[in-house]
């Protein structure tokens, strides 16, 4: 074991891990964070806390992670390289670890043009691969990126993202290989709707033996409505929603669509369970945290293992 992370323990014991996410509020309401967290108690092994997702200002991932930690959750601190330089990020990693946060996800982040501050500078002092490398060196070598020694180095279980659906497709397995070489202990993928394409990507992953060097958590998202399905299909860069999913959502009346979205999500999990190399699931129920328990339960993933 590299860390004390609950997520690492679950994965190392060979269980299918389950993570979900909590998007912090656009205001300083601690109660909102706590309320969202309530739906996830005993349902998941770690809770991703997003970092200014879609480049919209929100309560910091760090603060919301601490609030969740105080409620007994295992927060998974997301960190994007868009908003801060390496000094600020290392400072937060030290602070987070000092407050009991031992799991994180290293990302580059959506471009500011998608958010509410398109006039802001994109920092990108380092990129996501270099962030992974930095966190690993902090943990394993006890060194800051600048080379100086760290007293009581933070032992983070290090995650990275992978998008099997972005282009160029043939590069996507190599990109994963690069993140693993940099030090990614686990991977959370982009939402999977096109399972065939995901399986094709996993073939490439297995051919290089990458599934044995990292834990791959397959990302899934329940769709609330046919409108949401169309939006993700047409407007979100790097998302692959097949037409048949849109058609299936459109075929049921509006009030039945949330139920259909959840059914599709559970079927997707069942299909993904059969894919060799999938070590767990990351359920991204955006502003729909109350449905995560039902999904996890109906997918046969409850109770969560005690490790």
């Amino acid at each position: 074991m590299r860390t004390e992370s609950k997520l690492e323990k679950v994965l190392a014991a060979g269980h299918l891990a389950v993570t979900s996410e909590c998007g912090p509020p656009r205001g300083s309401m601690a109660d909102k964070v706590i309320e969202k967290g309530k739906y996830l108690h005993g349902v998941v092994d770690a809770v991703n806390v997003t970092d200014n997702q879609t480049a919209m200002v929100r309560m910091s991932s760090f603060a919301a992670s601490v609030l969740l930690k105080q409620q007994g959750h295992n927060p998974l601190l997301q960190m994007v390289t868009r908003d801060r330089n390496r000094l600020a990020m290392q400072a937060d990693i030290l602070g987070a670890y000092a407050l009991g946060i031992d799991t994180m996800l290293c990302l580059s982040g959506d471009h500011t043009r998608f958010g509410d501050h398109p006039m802001a500078m994109n920092v990108h002092d380092i990129d996501s691969v270099q962030l992974i490398q930095m966190v690993k060196n902090m943990r394993d070598e006890g060194k800051f990126q600048g080379g100086a020694e760290i007293k009581n180095p933070p032992k983070m279980f290090i995650g990275a993202a992978a998008n099997p659906f972005a282009d160029p497709f043939e590069l996507r397995v190599l990109r994963l290989a690069k993140k693993i070489a940099a030090g990614a202990d686990f991977i959370q993928t982009q939402c999977i709707f096109n399972v065939d394409k995901f399986e094709q990507w996993m073939e490439g992953v297995r051919a290089r033996g990458l599934h044995k060097q990292t834990y791959i958590l397959a990302g899934v998202t329940p769709i609330k409505s046919v409108g949401a399905a169309r939006y993700m299909k047409n407007k979100v860069p790097g998302m692959d929603v097949p037409q048949e999913i849109v058609d299936r959502m459109a075929a049921v009346p509006k009030e039945k669509q949330p139920e259909e979205g959840i059914a599709i999500c559970i079927e997707t999990i069942e299909r993904l369970k059969k894919v060799e190399g999938v070590a767990g699931f990351h359920i991204m129920a955006i502003d729909w945290e109350e449905k995560v328990k039902e999904i996890v339960e109906r997918a046969g993933l409850l109770p969560r293992p005690q490790v």
Binding site: T81, R82, R86, S108, G109, D110, H111, R113, F114, N122, H124, D125, I126, D127, S128, V129, Q130, Q133, M134, Q145, A161, A162, N163, A166, D167, P168, L171, L174, R175, A177, K178, A181, A182, Q190, P237, G238
Partner: protein, 210 residues
């Protein structure tokens, strides 16, 4: 317009170098801007005298010296050079207000007639030898050094269809050159000191400096 409002006599200075090539501040543009300013000022019910002059280079002191005979006759200078030229004139003529006529944007290349796009950010530590001759610092919207983000779609950047994904271009180049293994090597965190991280940059060539 706001800049020159208080003045009756100004000198409008063009530059024969880069701004001429990119049709932004050469002799021709000096003429066009001068007549445009004339009309605008007349319309507002005032008058202005605009002297026009275009220097060989505004970023070299010896050429800027050419302005000495005309500077006393004007109240202010407006420069159509890049920011370097504006600052060189300001440095030389300490008691004369100098205003920029252009917003200097980037170091780029001409894609086709009338279209220029950014190619270099002057980061001082060139990666082009590793990236197939395509710069991820200048041409990737997130200046990613280790490959495309999850937003790359059909060769386009996530910020818009009129922006190429630099990493899609790099990948095609590496394939064509048989250098796919270059991609797998991790590019470590960049040292930004030569890129401006250690303050304003200066180059001193001992063999040329006086």
């Amino acid at each position: 317009m706001e800049y020159i409002k208080p003045f009756k006599r100004i000198l409008l200075v063009g530059c024969n170098e880069c701004v001429t090539v990119c049709a932004a501040g050469g002799r021709k543009e000096v003429g066009l801007l001068a007549s445009g300013l004339h009309m605008a000022v007349l319309k507002s019910g005032a008058t202005i005298e605009i002297r026009e002059h275009t220097l060989e280079r505004q970023c070299d002191p010896e050429y800027v010296e050419e302005l000495v005979p005309m500077i006393d006759g004007v109240e202010a200078v407006m420069s159509m050079a890049c920011g370097c030229g504006v600052q060189e004139i300001a440095r030389r003529f300490k008691n004369k207000p100098v205003f920029p006529a252009l917003n200097t944007k980037f170091m780029g290349a001409s894609e086709r007639q009338g279209v220029w796009s950014e190619r270099c950010q002057g980061c001082g530590d060139c990666l082009l030898g590793m990236t197939g001759g395509i710069c991820p610092i200048a041409r990737c919207a997130k200046q990613l050094m280790n490959g495309p983000c999850g937003g790359s779609t059909g060769g386009h950047c996530e910020i818009g269809e009129d922006t190429d994904c630099a990493w899609a271009l790099i990948w095609e180049r590496l394939k064509a050159l048989g250098q796919i293994e270059r991609y797998v090597e991790i590019t470590p965190a960049k040292d930004w000191r030569p890129g401006g991280g250690s303050g304003p940059r200066k180059i001193i060539r001992e063999d040329l400096a006086e």
